[in-house]
Structures are given as C-alpha cells and as structure tokens.
C-alpha cells in the first residue's frame, strides 16, 4: 500500500490505484469535480491512466454554484 493525502487527510491506496479508482471509492462523479495532483489540475480523460505515487497530495474540488 502507498499513502497519499486527499483533501488534507491521509489515505492508504494500492500501488496501482488511479484517480478513477479514488473518486469511485469516494463516490464522487468525475463530471462534478476537478482533481489536482501536487498542485496541477489533471484532465478528466487522464483519470484512468494517472497512477499515484507515495506522498502525492490530491485535492478533489467540487463544482458548486449555490448562493
């Protein structure tokens, strides 16, 4: 297992885990969020092919428009 940081919280993931795996675990639909890995926004079409490294800092930022 590797350890990554998701929205400020530590999380254990298998070494072959992708962004698609993570957001599926978290029950977040890809079209309602933006994902940053180590400060860089990852394009949605790369979610299946983008694997994590130990220590990666992930931010899952939700779209919201309520006012």
């Amino acid at each position: 297992m590797i350890e990554i940081v998701v929205n400020g919280n530590n999380r254990q993931m298998p070494p072959d885990a992708s962004i698609a795996n993570l957001i599926s675990q978290l029950k977040v639909k890809p079209q309602v969020c933006v994902v940053e890995v180590n400060g860089e926004i990852v394009s949605r079409d790369e979610y299946c092919a983008r694997y994590f490294k130990h220590g990666d800092q992930i931010e899952i930022i939700r779209f919201m428009a309520g006012g």
């Binding site: 929205n7 930022i61 428009a65």
Partner: protein
C-alpha cells in the same frame, strides 16, 4: 465618522482607509444567502456606492438564509427590499438597484461603473459570465459559492493570478449539480461564506493583507475545517491567458 469609529481605530484602516471605503463602488451580483451578508457588511463598513443586482422577488423559503429580508418583504423585488433595509442601516451611502439578470447584453455596461464585483449568484451561467466579463474588463471579482455544508471563496484579480476558468475550465453538464432548492442550504453556511467575501472585498479596497488570489478557500462545516488550495494559472486558459 462616529459611525465608523470602531474600524477607523484599526491601524490598517484609519481615516485614510475609511476614505477609500467611502469612495469605493462595489457591485453585489445576487441577493440570496451570500449577497445578504455581503451587502449588509459592506453597507455597514461604509462602502460608498453599492450596486444590488437580482431579478427575483423575496419568497418565504428564502428567509432561513437571506437575512437582509423580513417576512413583510415577501413578494417585493429583492433589490428594492434590500436597498430599503440598507438605507435604514446606513443612509450615507449610495445604492443602485438592478432588477434584472446579468447577460451578455448588459454585463459590460453595468460592471464598468464599479471597482469590484462580488459574485453571490446561484447558477453556473452567471458565474462564468461574471468571470469572463471581469477578466476582460480587468475588474477584481470576489467569488463565493455554497453546497449543502460546504463553501468556497476565491479572489480573481485579472493580471495578478488565475481566473475561475483556470480551475473550472467549463461548466459541469446541466443538471449534474443540484441547486440550493434541490440540495438544501443552511443559512449559517451562506453567512460564513458571504462574510468572508465581504472581508475580501474590503481588503481589496484598502489594499491590506493577502487576498485569496490564486487560492481557493474550501470550507467544510461538518468537519469545521478551512483549507486553502492553490489554483494553478492555466497558460492555455480560454479567457485569461
């Protein structure tokens, strides 16, 4: 100046800062849960000209969060009811009412009369429109949004940092994000985010502190956490690049 004495005491404000506030012109887009505290606190602080923009009328279901309105305002246009309340709070400031929706046809003309725009709207088309128009007109934009127990704030200062589209390049598919009407909204959450937006607008007017330029402040009320996330500037951004 007695009205502002408690803030004039602050070394970051003083009489010079108060003059800046009295000379400032701020447009509040949307008078809902966010726009209510934004308008009240900017009026209280003595922001000299406030534009209040909303096409809707006050409804009973607004009153859990839209604290600028009272039960007797139900049925009145929000811009008119809010203006009436703010004139009672601070008769010294000028208030411009806009009972309309922002669109491609009117936004440039309206924002040209203001120094800062505060986005308190409740829908993606208005948010993207406000971002794009403010970037093109080089107007600072204070963005705030809520969803259930969460909220976000950022400051877009064209030429000095990323814009809304650098983070959210395109709107989500229609219907994929429930509105407050569908998903629910707690008044205190809107109050917290709106007050942060008001604070950021005041900081921009005064030129003090570090505004949330290039940072998204993410608030989660259930965890009671605030986190600042860096927003990278998109060198290929369709609006600000």
């Amino acid at each position: 100046m007695q009205r502002y004495s408690r803030q004039i005491i602050l070394p970051e404000i003083g009489e010079k800062g108060q003059e800046k506030l009295l000379n400032a012109k701020v447009l509040v887009v949307g008078l809902g849960g966010l726009g209510s505290p934004v308008a009240v606190y900017l009026a209280g602080a003595g922001v000299g000209t406030l534009g209040l923009l909303d096409s809707d009328a006050v409804e009973l279901s607004n009153l859990n969060r839209q604290v600028i309105f009272s039960t007797e305002d139900i049925g009145k246009k929000k811009a008119a009811a809010a203006a009436q309340r703010l004139k009672r709070l601070n008769p010294d400031i000028k208030i411009n009412e806009y009972v309309l929706r922002l669109g491609q046809d009117n936004i440039r003309g309206i924002i040209s009369d203001y120094d800062i725009v505060v986005d308190c709207s409740d829908n993606f088309p208005t948010r993207y429109l406000a971002n794009d128009a403010c970037v093109l007109a080089k107007k600072p934009l204070v963005h705030g949004a809520i969803y259930q127990f969460e909220g976000q704030v950022t400051v877009i200062k064209p030429g000095q940092g990323p814009c809304y589209r650098c983070l959210f390049a395109e709107p989500p598919p229609p219907g994929s994000i429930p509105s407050c009407q569908e998903a629910g909204a707690l008044g205190a959450i809107a109050g917290i985010i709106g007050m942060i937006q008001a604070t950021e607008a005041i900081k921009l007017i005064l030129g003090v502190g570090q505004p949330l330029i290039g940072k998204l402040l993410v608030f989660n009320a259930l965890e009671m956490s605030f986190r600042k996330v860096d927003i990278p500037q998109n060198k290929k951004c369709s609006v600000c690049a």
